[in-house]
Structure formats: structure tokens, C-alpha cells
């Protein structure tokens, strides 16, 4: 598996002087194509901050983040949206679907951002929804879906344009065990079958059985990295 992302000596501070808070310190981490990488740790340990920096949503204070060999830490703010658009798909704990849009339109909008034509966006959105088993829900609104269905829509949206790296923040936290299992099967299938990298921040131990690597974060540092036994 090749490295899609290389993080070296990453630092993130908030504030300055005596009141400075170190959120991340000396993080070295690689993200590889085809793997499910799980970031775990207690609340406040810095794992969501790390995920945000990996996704070019938050800027690092120091260190290096390379995506396919391209340094992104020092890129101007105006260039970061294009980097996110090109390399990442995002899945959020709260789903973050657009309530005014139908299921299909929620997926279409991601294609619109990537400058697909309306016709292609619609066609590809339908394909994505079929892929997550929601073809029959494409005209529904998010309010009419269960939590698991919403998360599957979010996954379909994250996959628009076939990004190399999927960043997921607590994707199963709001789901029951059946829905959580379905979501993790889709995400691990993405990594295994389509050679995408899936990075998951979670507290949910059910996710571990789908992971290729688990990185434990504590107090802003990588405390431990392990490869779990496959049990599924």
C-alpha cells in the first residue's frame, strides 16, 4: 500500500505565551491507500483536531502534512478548498445533510462542487445511492430517513468524484448496532475493493473489528499504534 498522506512532527497550539494550549505534539503518521485507519482516544485527546488538519480544514501550527507528496501546511487559505475538493470525502457524526434537499440532491451537490454537469451529477448521484442501498429513497428528504440511512447518504455524498481519502468523524456514534455495522461494511469495502484510504475518528469499539490499523492518541500525542486481529 502506498502512502497517500505523510504527517511529520505535526504541532498544533491554541493561544500564546503562558496560556498556550498544545493540542497536538510531534505527530508522525502515514495514511495508506486501501486501509481503514482508526484514530481512538479519550475526549480532548486531539483526535478530531488531527482529523481536521489532515482534511485541510484546520491549519497546523508547525510540522509537515504532505498529500501525494505535496506540502499543504503552508498553502494559503484560499487554496485549501480546492485541496479538500480534490482529495477528500467527509463523513460527519451529525450527518450534516442539507434538509431542504432530497437525498439525491444531497449527493448531487457534491458533484456540482466538482463542476460536473447537472445531467452527470444526477446520473452519478443515482449510482452512488444504489451503491449504498438507497436507490428507492432518492426522492425522500433527510427528515424522512433513519439515522443509518442518513449516514449512508452522507457516505454516498463523500464518495462523489471518487476521492482518495475518506475522513469520517464518529460515523457510527449516532447509529444502532445494525446501522453501524452496515456503515462500517460500506467503509471497509471502500478501502478493500476500491483502494481508498478511510480514516475514522471514533470512540466506538465496534469499529475496531473493521480497522487495519488503530492509532491511540492521548494528550495530543500518538500513544500507541497497533494492528488489530481480524474478527469479521
Amino acid at each position: 500500500m502506498g502512502n497517500l498522506m505523510e504527517i511529520r512532527n505535526l504541532q498544533k497550539y491554541y493561544g500564546s505565551g503562558a496560556g498556550q494550549v498544545r493540542a497536538l505534539e510531534s505527530i508522525d503518521l502515514d495514511v495508506r491507500a486501501g486501509e481503514v485507519l482508526v484514530l481512538m482516544g479519550p475526549s480532548g485527546s486531539g483526535k478530531t483536531t488531527l482529523l481536521s488538519i489532515m482534511g485541510c480544514i484546520l491549519r497546523a501550527s508547525a510540522g509537515s502534512v504532505k498529500i501525494r507528496g505535496r506540502e499543504v501546511v503552508h498553502l494559503p487559505e484560499s487554496q485549501l478548498p480546492a485541496v479538500r475538493l480534490q482529495h477528500f470525502g467527509f463523513i460527519f457524526q451529525g450527518f450534516n445533510l442539507f434538509p431542504a434537499l432530497t437525498v439525491r440532491e444531497n449527493v448531487e451537490i457534491a458533484f456540482h462542487l466538482k463542476n460536473y454537469s447537472r445531467r452527470d451529477a444526477r446520473r452519478l448521484a443515482d449510482t452512488m445511492l444504489s451503491g449504498v442501498g438507497l436507490a428507492n429513497k432518492r426522492s425522500s428528504y433527510p427528515a424522512d430517513l433513519s439515522g443509518g440511512q442518513k449516514q449512508r447518504v452522507a457516505i454516498a455524498r463523500a464518495l462523489a468524484g471518487d476521492p482518495e481519502i475518506i475522513l469520517a468523524d464518529e460515523p457510527t456514534a449516532a447509529l444502532d448496532s445494525t446501522s453501524g455495522k452496515t456503515v462500517m461494511e460500506i467503509l471497509s469495502g471502500l478501502a478493500a475493493q476500491r483502494n481508498r484510504a478511510v480514516v475514522i475518528v471514533t470512540h466506538d469499539p465496534r469499529v475496531l473489528s473493521y480497522s487495519d490499523r488503530v492509532v491511540q492518541i492521548a494528550d495530543g500525542r500518538i500513544a500507541r499504534e497497533e494492528v488489530p486481529e481480524p474478527i469479521h
Binding site: 478530531t48 482529523l51 481536521s52 482534511g55 480544514i57 484546520l58 484560499s78 478548498p81 480546492a82 485541496v83 479538500r84 475538493l85 480534490q86 477528500f88 467527509f90 460527519f92 457524526q93 451529525g94 450534516n96 442539507f98 434538509p99 431542504a100 434537499l101 440532491e105 448531487e108 451537490i109 457534491a110 456540482h112 462542487l113 466538482k114 455524498r157 468523524d169 464518529e170 456514534a173
Partner: protein, 374 residues
């Protein structure tokens, strides 16, 4: 137009109704106030504008066409000697009292003009004729004021300054800016009504020969009549409009009403668009996290504003049209020419875009990291 702009706007029906109410309220208020202003501009000087006169010769110091004082009628012979003058006739315009058959009194404006040249006479007689004014004590009134003057049929009579006046015909569209309707009659009858000496007139009105330069003729008349003032028709129109519309404060009041409508509308729309932006802040954060550039967010907000403006305009222009139609039966004329209707649309769009500036500023400062906060 982006899908999100359209659907976000239409999704929340209550907010849409509030936004549209703001836009409609502002536009109808602006349309009525500005339409009133245009109506004032037209009615304040329509007696001049529609007179067919090229030059007006008055005693010095006239503030507006309704404020003339007497001068010798014989001056018109000097005027006729000036090259380029085709006709020079006496003309009278003055306020008088009209006594209704019921005994009640109304103010009117007597317009006395020469029946041979018809210079300064009404241009829209819809019943009777100017020739009927050759009979004693005959007048023309505008059909709009029949009820006000208590003369609903041809042949009905009233009194002007105590002298009998019989209605011999009706004009159309000769509305008065003041509460005093125009009453047209022959110059000789007007002298009698106003108790003016037979050798005197208020104005001498001039029709120029074809091809004559009004400015040059005006200068030449002023040279032979140094005790008079000479105005082109446009100058008299502007002088009269300026007096009634601006000096009296009537025009400023209506314009201020229009500006107030614009401000109130902008504030209402800004408030609703801003609250919509705040409510959708997480969605905009999600868009930014997904890779949308700021300009995409701006586009969504501006498109929502333009869409709200268009929808509000469509309804507002319909309401304004009904009000304008209704004003035709009232004393206050409200005008809405096509250019004004088109301008209102531009104003609606500008108002809504201006109202969305705060929202755009809010969107600029969205931290996309909010998407990771549960």
C-alpha cells in the same frame, strides 16, 4: 441558479413569507410614494405642459403659473411685432370661488383663453365643445370633478365669484395638483368672473412660427418688453413644478416616504436573510468543508436574495398596479410608467443584495471545523 439557493429559500415557508412581506411592503410603498411624486410632477404643471403654448409673458416676479398678476393686454401687439411670433393672445389663470347648487363653496382655478386661436385651451374635450364657450356664462370642467362641483350633467349651473356658470362640456385628464379644479372658459368670460378690467390680462401666451427658435424669440420679446418676464413652456413647467412639488414640501414628503420604504424594506429583508444564514450556518460550514470556495457560498446567499427580490417584485408590482388603477378615480394621481416599473425591479434586486451583505460577511467567517462539533 444553484439548487441549494432555490430549495433553501422555498424550504422554510414561514421565513419565505416574512422575507416576501418585507420585499412587497417596501416595493409597494416605494411604488406608491414615487408614483405620487410623478403624479405631483404631472398634475402640478399639466395646465402648462398641455397648453400648446411656446412662450409665456408675465408681470415680473411670478412664482409659478398659478401666481400671476395682471398686466396690460395691449402688450401683445408689441409681441406680435417680434419676428418669429405667429400668435400672441391674452390668457388668464386665477383662483376663484365656485358655489355649488347646494350652496356649498369650492375653490376652482379659472382658465380663460382665446377661442379663436384656442391657445392654452384644453386638449381633451370629451363632451360638448370649445365653441360652446362662445355662449354667455359657459364653462368646461373636467369630468373627474363633476360630483365635487355639484354639476353632474351638461347644462347644470353653479356660480363663479357670484356670476352664473353653465357647464357646456367636459374635459378629461385635466387634474389639478391643488384641491381647486380647472374651469375653462373664454378669456372674455374669465375677465368677467375675475372682475378684471377689460384692458388687462394675466398672461400673454405666444405660439411661434414654424422653425422659430424659442430662445431667440424670447430674448427679442424681452428686449421690447423690459418690464415683463418671458418664459419658454419648459421653463414655466419647471418653475411651477418646482414651486408646488418642492417649495411646498409635498414632493420631498413623498420622496422621503419612498426612501423610508427602501430603508425599511432593506432592514426587514436583511434581518430575514441574516437569520436564514445563521440558521444554515452549519450547512454553509459543511459546504466549505466539502471544498466549496467562499464565492460559492456568496453565490448561494446572493441568489437567494435575488430570487426573493424577483418573487416579491412579481407580487408587489401587481398590488401597485391595482393601486395605480384605483388612483384614477381619486384626487391624487399615482403614476407608474414602464421605466419606473422596470426600475423598481432593479431596486428590488439591489435592495435584496444590499440586505445580504451582512449575511455574506457572516459566511466569510464560518470556521469549517464547526462540522466536527456534534
Amino acid at each position: 441558479m444553484t439548487l441549494l439557493a432555490v430549495k433553501n429559500l422555498l424550504h422554510d415557508k414561514v421565513r419565505l413569507a416574512v422575507t416576501l412581506t418585507g420585499v412587497i411592503f417596501a416595493l409597494v410603498l416605494i411604488a406608491i410614494q414615487f408614483g405620487l411624486f410623478l403624479g405631483f410632477m404631472e398634475t402640478s404643471a399639466n395646465i402648462v405642459d398641455r397648453s400648446g403654448v411656446d412662450l409665456w409673458i408675465t408681470a415680473p416676479g411670478i412664482p409659478h403659473v398659478n401666481g400671476g398678476s395682471s398686466q396690460p393686454e395691449r402688450r401683445r401687439y408689441k409681441v406680435l411685432s417680434v419676428p418669429g411670433v405667429k400668435q400672441a393672445e391674452p390668457y388668464l389663470l386665477a383662483f376663484a370661488n365656485w358655489k355649488l347648487p347646494s350652496g356649498a363653496k369650492e375653490s376652482v382655478q379659472i382658465v380663460g383663453y382665446d377661442l379663436e386661436s384656442r391657445l392654452g385651451g384644453p386638449d381633451s374635450i370629451i363632451a360638448g365643445s370649445a365653441d360652446a364657450l362662445r355662449a354667455d356664462d359657459t364653462v368646461l370642467i373636467d369630468q373627474h370633478y363633476r360630483r365635487k362641483l355639484g354639476v353632474t350633467r351638461l347644462g347644470d349651473t353653479g356660480e363663479i365669484n357670484g356670476v352664473r356658470a353653465r357647464v357646456a362640456g367636459y374635459t378629461s385628464g385635466m387634474l389639478s395638483f391643488t384641491t381647486a379644479p380647472y374651469v375653462f372658459t373664454s378669456f372674455k368670460h374669465a375677465q368677467k368672473y375675475m372682475n378684471l378690467d377689460r384692458s388687462e390680462t394675466i398672461f400673454i401666451v405666444v405660439r411661434l412660427a414654424a422653425g422659430a427658435d424659442p430662445v431667440a424669440v424670447k430674448r427679442d420679446i424681452a428686449a421690447v418688453l423690459p418690464d415683463c418676464e418671458v418664459f419658454t413652456n419648459a421653463e414655466m413647467t419647471h418653475k411651477t413644478q418646482f414651486y408646488w412639488v418642492f417649495s411646498t414640501g409635498a414632493g420631498i414628503t413623498t420622496l422621503m416616504g419612498a426612501v423610508l420604504g427602501l430603508l425599511v424594506g432593506t432592514v426587514v429583508v436583511a434581518q430575514t436573510i441574516y437569520s436564514a444564514t445563521v440558521d444554515h450556518i452549519r450547512e454553509f460550514g459543511t459546504l466549505k468543508a466539502m471544498g466549496a470556495a467562499n464565492r460559492y457560498i456568496y453565490r448561494v446567499i446572493v441568489e437567494q436574495a435575488v430570487l426573493a427580490a424577483s418573487m416579491g417584485y412579481a407580487i408587489a408590482i401587481g398590488i401597485a398596479y391595482l393601486v395605480v388603477q384605483g388612483s384614477r378615480s381619486g384626487d391624487a394621481l399615482i403614476k407608474m410608467p414602464p421605466a419606473m416599473a422596470a426600475g423598481l425591479f432593479g431596486l428590488a434586486v439591489l435592495m435584496c443584495i444590499a440586505a445580504s451583505i451582512l449575511s455574506i460577511r457572516k459566511a466569510t467567517t464560518i470556521d469549517p471545523a464547526i462540522v466536527f462539533r456534534a
